[in-house]
């Protein structure tokens, strides 16, 4: 399989338009992947029938087991990421 990637430095330059148009030229042998996962728009142009969907999981989130927590504050001290609240 040959893989062609369409990218741009700047946003809104026409990646989706070019990719979708290009894909239509390839007929039924083409697989198109919208990897702009922040704001995926290709489906608005291609209007595909969805035949499969799944959730994606990555990373892990700490869970506080309140029954064992002694509120020592150590977790807060070692966390380098300022939370949103």
């Amino acid at each position: 399989m040959k893989e062609i990637v369409v990218i741009s430095g700047k946003g809104g330059t026409g990646k989706t338009s070019i990719t979708a148009s290009f894909a239509m030229l390839g007929g039924s042998e083409v697989v198109v992947a919208d990897c702009d996962v922040d704001a995926a728009d290709m489906h608005l142009l291609m209007q595909p029938e969805f035949n499969f969907a799944e959730d994606f999981y990555s990373g892990e989130v700490a869970y506080v087991d309140q029954s064992n927590c002694i509120s020592c504050g150590k977790c807060r001290d070692v966390c380098r990421f300022v939370p949103f609240w």
């Binding site: 430095g9 946003g11 809104g12 330059t13 922040d38 704001a39 070692v78 380098r80 990421f81 949103f84």
Partner: protein, 294 residues
């Protein structure tokens, strides 16, 4: 305006290329006609605001993040560090530990949990910050190193620089990256008001609705500016009405505006209606923030 606390306005959008930089630069220049203002380009992967200004460089510095450095002489190859790195930034290859600086989030876990202190943290350049002055306008921009994946830390450090140097300037405008993920959250989370720039197309609408969800999750007051108004359809306006989102301004789709933008020029001087829109936008932000704080 000097009696106000510093007003932080972030300019964001779900979709790229909708006009964040156009609005940021024109709004900042408009304010700078009368007041001191700082414009901050937080779109660190592709900062463009600087193209609209020719100013005097007043400060330049490299920005660093902390990464682990393997100390072979201390390491016992116990295998703990590659197992606990959630970002796969530390791996073991035979008798060596390899660190991938671009993947490291500087969480310090490997360094602090290494039983023999074989992974001390050292600084690594992740980008650079530049500060310009153009009359009453201060312009700060940061650029991420090519290949570097962690925009968030650079954005955070740029905001700290601005807070440290321009805390007394009455208005700060933050040109944010596009999208809805961590860099946008970091760029907007401390703002008093967020302006979402969109275009009246199905793509603009789709990505605007994602950006709206993001701002609602952050509990930020926000409004919408519709750029290139006149192309596409009315769906964006209808959506804003149904969702009770204020439309702060509509910037017309106009060939002359596009030409000015394409040659790296500000547009509001040539368009009284745009200048009026900038004034309206600023007025709305000030009233909303002041009203909310009272």
């Amino acid at each position: 305006m000097t009696d106000l606390k510093p007003l932080k306005i972030a300019i964001a959008s779900g979709k790229g290329g909708t006009g964040k930089t156009t609005l940021s630069t024109n709004l900042a220049a408009f304010i700078a006609e009368q007041h001191e203002v700082v414009l901050v380009d937080l779109d660190v992967e592709e900062p463009n605001s600087g193209l609209f200004f020719k100013g005097e460089l007043t400060h330049e510095e490299d920005i660093f993040k902390m990464i682990p450095q393997w100390d072979e002489s201390k390491c016992t190859l116990c295998g703990i560090c590659p197992k606990l790195c959630s970002y796969h930034a530390v791996i073991q290859l035979g008798p060596s530990i390899l660190v991938f600086p671009e993947l490291c989030h500087s969480c310090y876990a490997c360094s602090e949990l290494c039983p023999v202190d074989a992974l001390p943290m050292i600084p690594k350049k992740t980008g650079s910050l530049r500060d310009f002055r153009i009359s009453k306008l201060h312009f700060v921009e940061s650029r991420l190193e090519i290949g570097e994946e962690q925009a968030v830390q650079l954005i955070s450090k740029t905001k700290k620089y601005v807070a440290g140097h321009y805390g007394k300037v009455s208005i700060a405008i933050f040109d944010s990256p596009p999208g809805t993920s961590c860099p946008v959250m970091e760029a907007t989370k401390d703002a008093d008001f967020v302006i979402l720039v969109t275009e009246p197309t199905p793509f603009g609408l789709h990505d605007l609705s994602l950006a709206v969800e993001t701002m609602r999750a952050l509990k930020k007051p926000f409004g919408v500016v519709v750029n290139r108004y006149g192309i596409g359809n009315d769906e964006v306006i209808r959506y804003c009405r149904e969702e009770n989102i204020p439309v702060l301004a509509k910037i017309p789709n106009n060939r002359k505006i596009a030409e000015l933008y394409s040659s790296g020029k500000l547009m509001y001087h040539d368009f009284p209606e745009v200048k009026q829109s900038l004034s309206d936008i600023l007025g709305y932000c000030i009233t909303t923030v002041k009203g909310g704080a009272a």
